[in-house]
Symmetry: none
Subunit: 118 residues, 2 copies
Amino acid sequence: MKRVEHEAKREVTFSKRKKGLFNKASELCELCGVEVALILFSPHLKPFTFGHPDANKILQRCLTERDDHSPGLTRRNVFHRINGVREKHNESLKRLEEEEKKSKNKKKWYFYWRVLVG
Amino acid sequence: MKRVEHEAKREVTFSKRKKGLFNKASELCELCGVEVALILFSPHLKPFTFGHPDANKILQRCLTERDDHSPGLTRRNVFHRINGVREKHNESLKRLEEEEKKSKNKKKWYFYWRVLVG
DNA sequence: TGGGCTATCATTAGGGA
DNA sequence: TTCCCTAATGATAGCCC
């Protein structure tokens, strides 16, 4: 698994795999009757979401519901639990993304939601 | 695609497909260098998340980037343009942190993170 | 819940439109 | 971005631990 360098191909790959990922998420919902929220940003930073029963509900819960054993969704918490390998990997991906972002105009983001289910 | 009725089988299916879904999400990150957040609740309501670069960041962005015309993550699709993302984002993050402090100890979820690959 | 194993079925890459 | 097509690759169900 390596990053697809050719831009056009990367976008096609993204589009195809996003569809596949949404399908898988949908199947999981149907098969097991569970709640799923999925958010992703395209190479052009377009956001896409999938949610069952409704992405909003799930996200809100994640940000507010917890118990004493878990400090909730904080940046600290996240990085605490990520192991070194993953972290390094993320770092390099982040740098790649930064380079991409620089070549775009940040202030022209188009932001929209697509809730497929619910 | 129909719900798996037998409980034990449903749980096994969930476990296996969750793994597959996380792998797919991970592959999408690697191949296309994009941001992904994935949250799901098992049949027993255990939460699992996957995130790149970090689920928290993506979720907060989704909950805080909005304008006066849209109350945030609503069920219906939201379509709008964001300007001055950085400043708004930072302001909102502060508010979110305060709200999080207030809501501590309120609920009873068992919350934990599982970062797949690595 | 998750890991291993395997036959079978589903999905993806790649090319073209 | 999406759809069609095909070969090749990858994922899942079912069974045991």
